[in-house]
């Protein structure tokens, strides 16, 4: 079960390929019935695909934490993009548990995210605030 002693745990999800077809599918999904809108580049929030989801998947696979992705509520999200993300880039995503706080039976988990490209440049930093209902299994 998640508790403050887990702060500082680090997780890696290396080798995330920025695949042009996945970018196109993402843009189409975001656009819905309005028709795909593209500025000819990778949308900033595609960070959900190459950074946030794979890194969080590692957090949720940690048996020490006993977290269940189902029912998780995303409370806040921020990103910075210090350098552009380009199709065919290969990035290493990572996550670090930054804070665990309990309030009225609810557990809030803060996760710091990062993605570094094949040239060693940080292309994304992020912070997710997640609500874990009931404090985990």
């Amino acid at each position: 079960m998640l508790d403050p002693s887990h702060v500082g745990r680090h997780y890696v999800a290396p080798g995330q390929v920025i695949d042009a077809e996945r970018v196109a599918a993402y843009v189409a999904a975001v656009s819905g019935d309005d028709g795909a809108f593209s500025l000819g580049s990778v949308p900033p929030t595609f960070a959900a695909v190459y950074c946030m989801m794979p890194a969080l998947a590692q957090v949720f696979a940690d048996p020490e934490l006993g977290l269940d992705l189902a029912g998780l509520i995303h409370v806040e999200q921020s990103f910075e993009w210090p350098a552009p993300v380009l199709p065919e880039d290969v990035v290493d995503a990572s996550a670090e548990l930054a804070a665990v706080e309990s309030k009225r039976g609810l557990t809030f988990l803060t996760v710091d995210l990062a993605a570094v490209n094949q040239a060693g440049e940080t292309v994304c930093r992020g912070r997710s605030l997640l609500l874990i209902r009931g404090g985990g299994r």
Partner: protein, 138 residues
């Protein structure tokens, strides 16, 4: 990209063109596929109700993607968006229309800071505390 926008004369108080989009369950399903986020609160109404939601809800990251599209349309290039953040205050439900809006609250050499929000057609404030930093130079 050598897009001339945003205009050289960005001023405090400049507003984004509001972007409205009706989000269907089919779109939420497509977003789950495209993003790899298959949390059943987005896909399974019975599961969603079981955790106290009115039914399935759109992914917060889908709402945020529509928000950054509004910013990107104003900025003229996604590469200009260097920071983005928001709070997922209220869920967007399938069939509802989200409207994203924002305005410039600070202008600094080379960047502009925008305050952003999104509301639903039900009148809920879906995204709050929205903030973006956009490069205006080069």
């Amino acid at each position: 990209m050598s897009d001339p926008r945003p205009p050289g004369e960005v001023r405090i108080g400049d507003e984004l063109t509001p972007l409205s989009r009706t989000v269907t369950q089919e779109q939420i399903n497509a977003y789950a596929e495209a993003s790899g986020d298959h949390n059943p609160i987005h896909l399974d109404p019975e599961f969603a109700r079981g955790v106290g939601l009115p039914g399935t809800i759109a992914h917060g990251m889908l709402d945020m993607a529509i928000l950054v599209e509004a910013v990107g349309r104003w900025a003229g290039a996604y590469e200009r968006v260097v920071e983005l953040g928001c709070r997922f205050s209220k869920p967007l439900l399938p069939g509802e229309t989200i409207t994203c809006s924002g305005r410039v609250v600070a202008v600094d050499p080379g960047t502009a800071t925008l305050q952003l929000e999104a509301t639903s057609s039900r009148g809920e404030r879906v995204l709050t505390n929205g903030r973006a930093v956009v490069r205006t130079g080069d």
